[in-house]
């Protein structure tokens, strides 16, 4: 049991010393049994601070140290490493958090100093109970799983594959590409989305180091950093892609149709289909809900025409298992359903479009070949683009979706370009043009004659409805029944506007994917209050997660544009790569341990372990914890009815001593 403890009280500049009387705390510590020396220092985490600690360990033979400083999240590693270098087992370092939990949150110097003393007393008592523990090292499998084949996942997969890492890229849809594949142009440079995306898609599809699994989903993840075991469901697509040559004859001949998901329901596709022309892989799948043969046993037209004999109606879902060292999650976002704001008429008024519908309407490869027209085929003479549909809104999503202001500008430009006669209005609350070249793009649109109205589009009504609802004086001259009226206050004018238009485009908020919760649970990645995956640190670890070895990239982490998404894709790849190139890593020493003589063989713990780390030895009728899998969460420790499981570093004695220390003042 350590009894030569050194205590170090950090000033942290004035962060701690401004509120806590550090000298008084150090004097107090000196009087706690077991403490042989106690010091204060301006910045313990600095090199001289660490050297001080190391010198004391060496000279005075300290057998434990307590550092009263900031949160262990910040510097526990630093001090553990310093101690280790000086020959002290790192688990004999205990942190007393007198900054976040004391100086920053306590009012009054006296109270803060007293609290700091209590925290130091607790840490010292706990340190007296510490045992040296050994970190273990495991090898890292030099391969990666990338989940989601949008631009984020494609970028991450390519970067990893180019560095020689074997990558499995899993995409739920029949093709990779994600949302970006739906766009015609991208802001602010207006470069053609397909021109910059397609080469990357093709590269990902043909890279020798990438195994592409489209129409697939991850079903189960077990294992741990370095050795994740992943089960992937390969959904039956009824076309043998090894045989298929991608000639497309089957698609041409198939007599059955369904709404195209990719075209947002604005066009039909066949029952055997490619979601879009540049799809990767460029081989079709069969939609079992639309195929007449799969539904009621009649047709087989595709079989007749397929020269490669690639159609295989006997195909079943199958599950493939892979082992990878690291994982990149890049599952992206979904757009909010505009019907959640009935005041804007989406889904009820045919002239109201969602942004993604407009993307397809404007796309040269889209349902109208890029001709912007209303559902009844008229060229709109006036269009209103309403910003912030469900964003920055307590009733829907509190956050700003970050890209809608910009793509709203993009739309305004495309409209002005394609329909120079058309009047274009942007109804906005604030213009958020934060990126490189974005403000300039805004100015360009003003030069192009777009009307910017500062005021949120509050209501949209059909022309016929409007006439039945308001006094004759409030009906704009020449309003036609099939038109729309946008009601908004121009806050700069301080006047309500009734704006008759032919088309309204909404900018629905970015949302976490509908299954983000489930996916998060599967990969043990937590989510923020907004529902997006949570990074380990918003500034310093933006693509890491609290599950070691699992990284996040792109819009699954929060709304973002393509430049930021690509940057994160590369960042996640580099993080994954740096892990892989280390070849082996240290893993938790603070695992659980079943005390054989106490285990009654009840198996309570086995089902509870979130990491499947406990196995049952049938011969001896005892549970055993697999050290490599255990994360030390403590669930089993608390649940075991025989109190047979010990948590290393978090034993009863350690915790009770800490509590006694806290209460000792």
């Amino acid at each position: 049991m350590p009894y030569k403890i050194g205590v170090y009280v950090c000033h942290c500049g004035t962060n701690i010393a401004g509120m806590v009387n550090v000298e008084e705390v150090a004097d107090f510590a000196r009087g706690i049994p077991g403490v042989t020396l106690s010091r204060t220092y301006k910045f313990m985490c600095s090199d001289p601070g660490q050297a001080l600690l190391q010198e004391d360990i060496r000279k005075n033979g300290l057998d434990a140290v307590v550092v009263a400083a900031c949160s262990p999240l910040m510097h526990e590693r630093t001090f553990r490493r310093a101690a280790q270098e000086a020959g002290l087992n790192p688990f004999l370092v205990q942190i007393a958090n007198i900054r976040e939990q004391c100086s920053w949150v306590t009012e009054g110097k006296g109270a803060a100093t007293e609290k700091a003393k209590a925290l130091v007393a607790a840490a010292v008592r706990r340190a007296r109970e510490h045992q040296p523990l050994e970190m273990r090292r495991v090898e890292i499998t030099p391969s990666a799983l990338v989940v989601g084949g949008g631009i984020a996942g494609i970028q991450a997969a390519l970067d990893l594959a180019d560095a020689g890492v074997q990558v499995v890229l899993v995409e739920r849809e029949p093709s990779i590409g994600g949302h970006m594949a739906m766009f015609d142009k991208t802001f602010p440079t207006l470069d053609c989305a397909a021109c910059i995306l397609t080469p990357k898609m093709v590269a990902a599809g043909s890279h020798p180091n990438i195994k592409l699994m489209t129409w697939s989903e991850v079903e189960e993840v077990s294992g741990f950093v370095g050795n994740f075991k992943v089960k992937i469901r390969r959904k039956a697509g009824y076309v043998d892609h090894d045989k298929c040559t991608g000639c497309g004859l089957c698609i041409e001949k198939c007599p059955y149709k369904a709404d195209s998901e990719f075209e947002q329901g604005l066009a039909k596709r066949k029952a055997i289909y490619l979601p879009f022309a540049q799809a990767v892989p460029n081989k079709p799948i069969i939609d079992k809900n639309a195929c007449a043969y799969l539904k009621n046993g009649k047709c087989r037209v595709c079989v007749k025409f397929c020269e490669a004999a690639a159609i295989d109606f006997t195909q079943q879902d199958r599950v493939e298992e892979v082992t990878v060292g690291t994982i990149v999650l890049a599952t992206g976002f979904q757009a909010m359903d505009g019907r959640r704001i009935p005041e804007l008429g989406y889904g009820r008024l045919p002239g109201v479009y969602s942004a993604l519908e407009f993307e397809r309407l404007n796309n040269a490869a889209g349902p109208t070949n890029g001709v912007i027209q209303t559902r009844d085929g008229r060229a709109p003479r006036s269009v209103a683009i309403l910003h912030c549909t469900g964003s920055r809104d307590e009733n829907h999503h509190r956050y700003c979706s970050r890209v809608c202001c910009m793509y709203a500008l993009k739309y305004a430009h495309l409209l002005r370009e394609k329909l120079p006669e058309a009047r274009v209005y942007n109804f906005y609350i604030d213009m958020r043009c934060f990126g490189k070249g974005y403000e300039e793009f805004y100015k360009r649109l003003q030069e192009e004659g777009v009307r910017f109205v500062r005021g949120k589009g509050a209501q949209v009504w059909g022309g016929a409805e409007w006439k039945a609802m308001v006094p004759a004086a409030a009906v704009p001259e020449g309003l036609e029944d099939h038109q729309l009226v946008v009601v908004a206050e121009d806050s700069l004018l301080q006047q309500v506007l009734h704006v008759p238009v032919d088309m309204v485009v909404l900018t629905p908020a970015f949302e976490p994917r509908f299954d983000a919760e489930e996916v998060g649970r599967r990969f043990l990645v937590s989510r923020g209050a907004d529902g997006f995956f949570l990074e380990q640190h918003p500034k310093l670890a933006p693509v890491s997660t609290t599950n070691e070895g699992v990284f996040i990239a792109g819009a699954c982490q929060g709304p973002k544009d393509i430049p930021d998404t690509v940057a994160q894709g590369s960042a996640a790849a580099s993080k994954a790569l740096s892990l892989i190139t280390r070849k082996e890593i240290e893993i938790e020493a603070t695992t659980a341990h079943v005390q054989d003589e106490l285990c009654s063989g009840c198996r309570t713990c086995i089902g509870l372990c979130p990491y499947n780390a406990i196995t049952f030895d049938e011969a001896r009728k005892r549970a055993a914890v697999n050290d490599a899998l255990c994360k030390g969460c403590g669930t089993c420790v608390a649940a075991c009815p025989s109190s047979a499981i010990l948590a290393r570093h978090f034993g009863d004695r350690q915790i009770f001593s800490e509590i006694e220390g806290l209460l000792s003042l």
């Binding site: 005041e343 500062r454 609802m469």
Partner: protein, 381 residues
């Protein structure tokens, strides 16, 4: 416009009066654009809020009294600002300086003196209940207190609603009674006008009356009373279960205690009263009742549920003159007719009153009928 200097003490004072959310507003204009006035002669509520945020003159201007407290703005506000509370608090603050519009003063005087805003005598409050044979509430005999609003006591049209409701309750076997002249106006409008003092004394006196009579459950005829008992009387220690008449009728029909059987053969639309719908989220009960009435074809108006158009009578506007051409109720009847309705049904005596008034202005007064839900139900019995 001359330069102005912010006077934040005013903003601070408003917050003391209950405008807690004042600073949350980010000036998006959704409120002004959602306000029913935006269809006629816009009320710029956003601007009032802006002026109040900086304590600049104008926040207390004439526009402040146009607000009907309908909450069309509030349910849309992206920042979740309780706009109706801002209006109420602002009125309360300036009300203390005596700046309440002339037309509201007589209603206030009547409430203070006689416990109702209709210049009726307190002794006459129960004349109608006596002639209708409605018993005084007795906790041993009655499950519910019927709280019928001040209006039926002094207004003939409203009295028809109350009579109908009593008929329905009896048919459904509901054991209910009324209070005597000790009952006063619930104070909803008084509070919205900004007279907190009078509201508090009304609340206290009603709380005492409830307590003395041993009231546990209340059926409110008016959504305004319903709202106030339910959401605001806790401050006076009132802990009663409150139901709106439409909820009771829905339950009676659902439980089979009330069997509407006479055919109506009419196309009916429902006008959601602000204080039933937007303020209290009761949208389905009245629609369920209508769908259970034989011979009723139901049509929804364009502006329905959360988007319902205010009748114009809330927030004290009942007692203020609104110019022809600016009355919301004048817009509502043509909208109802446009969807093919021959009956505009609703569930609030203020709404009925406003619509009946507008009906008289129609080219053909009989082009549409205005009915309270209870009246329609009573017709089928």
């Amino acid at each position: 416009m001359p330069a102005a200097t912010p006077f934040l003490e005013v903003a601070d004072a408003l917050k003391e009066y209950g405008a807690h959310d004042l600073d949350l507003c980010y000036q998006c204009s959704t409120c002004t654009g959602s306000c029913p006035w935006s269809f006629v002669e816009p009320l710029n509520i956003r601007r009032l809020i802006r002026l109040a945020q900086l304590g600049l003159p104008g926040y207390e201007g004439e526009d402040l009294w146009k607000c009907t407290t309908c909450a069309s703005c509030q349910v849309r506000c992206p920042r979740g600002v309780a706009i109706v509370d801002l209006v109420r608090s602002t009125r309360a603050m300036i009300g203390e300086t005596g700046l309440i519009p002339q037309s509201l003063r007589s209603a206030l005087g009547s409430v203070k003196g006689e416990g109702n805003p209709w210049n009726g005598k307190r002794e006459e409050r129960n004349a109608w209940t006596e002639s209708a044979g409605i018993p005084r509430f007795d906790p041993k005999k009655h499950e519910y207190l019927l709280s019928a609003c001040c209006m039926p006591s002094y207004d003939k049209r409203s009295r028809r609603i109350a009579d109908a409701l009593w008929k329905v309750l009896q048919a459904g076997g509901v054991r209910a009674g009324v209070l005597g002249p000790e009952e006063s106006c619930c104070g909803e409008a008084v509070r919205k006008i900004g007279d907190e003092g009078t509201f508090t004394s009304l609340g206290k006196s009603n709380a005492a009356a409830f307590e003395k009579a041993g009231v546990r459950k209340v059926i409110a005829l008016s959504p305004h009373c319903y709202h106030t008992f339910k959401n605001e009387y806790a401050a006076f220690g009132v802990k009663v279960e409150v139901h709106h008449a439409s909820e009771i009728m829905q339950r009676l029909i659902f439980e089979g205690k009330l069997k509407p059987h006479k055919k109506l053969d009419r196309t009916v639309t429902w006008h959601d009263p602000c204080y039933l719908g937007r303020h209290n989220d009761i949208f389905d009960a009245p629609r369920a009742v209508l769908s259970a009435l034989p011979g009723v074809t139901f049509r929804e108006m364009f502006r329905h549920k959360k988007q319902s158009l205010c009748c114009g009578g809330g927030g004290g506007r009942m007692w203020m003159e609104t110019k022809r051409g600016e009355r919301f109720s004048d817009l509502r009847l043509p909208e109802a007719m446009a969807v093919g309705a021959s009956v505009l049904a609703t569930g609030c005596p203020y709404c009925v009153n406003m619509f009946e008034d507008s009906r008289l202005g129609l080219e053909r007064e009989d082009a549409i009928q205005v009915r309270d839900l209870a009246e329609l139900v009573a017709e089928t019995l």
